[in-house]
Symmetry: C2
Subunit: 362 residues, 2 copies
């Protein structure tokens, strides 16, 4: 198929630093190329891809301090997509709702993956209005605030199979990775480790917005003797950090639409002990790739049980359910469905025109 | 005519506090109603107008701390305009470029007034692409960074004639009004007054962003004996404040696309002494409604000359050039031009269809 992928321009595809959406767009794009599709990627100019790259920005907007008005570049990108729409069989947007008003102009089937949190009050009237746009959720739980939207499917994120290797021999610690922020609950992770009498390693960045939270609530906790704070780590260090842990602690306090770190741990053969918020119960199969818990006591108790799970089985579950290969297959199935619907609707129209043509030429 | 006015949703129309664009949209809308047009105003729900109000937000977005994503409301507004476009002869946007990609869908003539500063690098590629959108500048000088855009006309802002009265008897001070910010140069205004041996009254608000500028550069200056700092003033106090001043000082340091305060002073019969940046030379006629200067010395010297100008002549110049009545007339002229162009283009198309129809019915 001829597929357009339309990425946000805030980070490159893949991102040089953090950037959830652009990272998934990258994995999906490369997997579609692997499957033999002809993919065009609309993304920032410093993106790296085997697809055809179309860009109006030299570099990712977040890295360019001169950019005052990022919307201008996204509007420009949208116009480029409109003008080139006829080149594609399907157009896949990852840029929220910006294209909805113009989507009638595209005359091609469009599909939109919503990557973010949807429990923002102003989205309700928006999706009341745009209730025919084919959209994809990244978990079933993500849909809850917007039942009125035209949900087509849930497609879970996936990682390239060769990104991480399973590590079967574990060291004696549990892992926490993410931002130091109230909704990620690093304090709760430390409490769980303390209760279990277990060492915890914390790999986390501290955003400016979270500095006062860090100073007021976390700084004194990471000075405890069983806590090792190792700061922010890169992709290359993640395999060891996650893979050697007895378990990943994911004691979140918010409806995370999809927790990438859970499938990263799975790819490394590491079980996850997680609070059952948001997408968590859809990713963690209790007793297979981890444990769903609802208290510090349950979580502490689950660490030993989790150590008994087989890393090879956890890895196999990852390969079956959360590879970028599977993600690409899921999307292609939805693309084909939409293209068929579109063909039927167009042929319905063109039959009308055929009858006019035959009268004209008669 | 049936006219749609599409306002930003950040402030109500008119704004309760500061809000340049929404204020002009209000003056224009009410003047068009006065002229007998059927006007529909797309604006926040707390707007007050004699036009028909269409809104999806109960209150202005800037006043609602719960609003996380103001773009969602503007996209919803755009969709509403698209769906109701057939009700109007012309659609007048004041919402920058957001509607450009969807504008083909409107099937009605569209005109856009750009209210802001245009020397932002990312706007250049945007207007390279959208070089056929009919746009209106609020001064000729505003156009400089974007010569490639399809500029249709300059329409200067205007005020209702009864908003302010000319005051002929002046008190012994010069006035400064605006934000305390580096580009407005309150420091320079104080220096001018000092050089002229003249009292200065400063009516100005201090935004959070400008607090350190105020403390570092202005606070010690306003303690001088000839300076009276009176804080932020409302509309009701402006007439006296501006009208009783010998002159308004407008010693700006940036290309202001249109300085509303200059025409407010004119409406009060008060001359303006201004640095010739941005729109200033288009508004100030040297020796008639004020003086154009390029140094503190020139400005100080101009105060006495300005005192000799006749407040009644300054007021007459305001009424001729900067009333909302005149602004509405200018816009209607442009609306009519666009409607005629559109009619010609549509009739060109429909002739083709007429010939198909006649073949079909033959």
């Amino acid at each position: 198929m001829k597929i357009a992928q339309v990425s946000p321009l805030f980070e490159s595809v893949p991102p040089k630093l953090y950037g959830g959406t652009e990272r998934v767009v990258s994995y999906l794009t490369e997997a579609l190329v692997d499957h033999g599709h002809e993919v065009t990627l609309f993304a920032s100019g410093d993106s790296v891809t085997r697809a055809k790259l179309v860009s109006h920005t030299q570099e990712a907007l977040r890295l360019n301090p001169k950019v005052i008005d990022p919307l201008a570049f996204h509007i420009l990108q949208l116009q480029e997509v409109i003008e080139r729409a006829h080149e594609f069989d399907i157009i896949h947007f990852h840029t929220d709702y910006l294209h909805f008003p113009a989507s009638q102009l595209l005359q091609r089937p469009c599909i939109t993956t919503l990557h973010g949190r949807l429990d923002i009050p102003e989205l309700k009237p928006l999706y009341d209005k745009f209730d025919t746009q084919a959209i994809i959720s990244i978990s079933n739980s993500q849909r809850n605030p917007l039942p009125q939207a035209a949900w087509m499917d849930t497609v879970y994120h996936g990682l390239p199979k060769d990104l991480y290797q399973a590590i079967e021999t574990k060291d004696d610690y549990v892992a926490f990775i993410g931002r130091i922020s109230p909704e990620k609950r690093p304090d709760r992770a430390i409490e769980i480790a303390e209760k279990a009498g277990c060492k915890i390693k914390i790999a986390a960045k501290i955003d400016k917005a979270d500095l006062s939270y860090f100073h007021d609530h976390i700084k004194h906790l990471i000075q405890k003797p069983f806590v090792e704070y190792i700061g922010e780590i890169g992709e290359s260090e993640k395999n060891d950090f996650l893979g050697k842990a007895k378990a990943l602690l994911f004691p979140i306090d918010w409806p995370e639409p999809f927790g990438m770190v859970m499938i990263e741990a799975m790819a490394c053969g590491t079980p996850v002990i997680a609070y059952a918020h948001g997408s968590v119960p859809e990713i963690i199969e209790h007793g297979k790739n981890g444990y769903l818990v609802s208290s510090v006591e349950e979580a502490a108790y689950a660490i030993e049980k989790a150590s008994a799970l087989d890393p090879r089985i956890i890895r196999r579950l990852f390969e079956e359910r959360f590879s970028s290969d599977r993600m690409a297959q899921d999307y292609v199935r939805n693309y084909e469905l939409l293209c068929n619907r579109h063909r039927i609707s167009v042929s319905h129209h063109s039959k009308k025109f055929d009858s006019i043509d035959s009268k004209l030429t008669a």
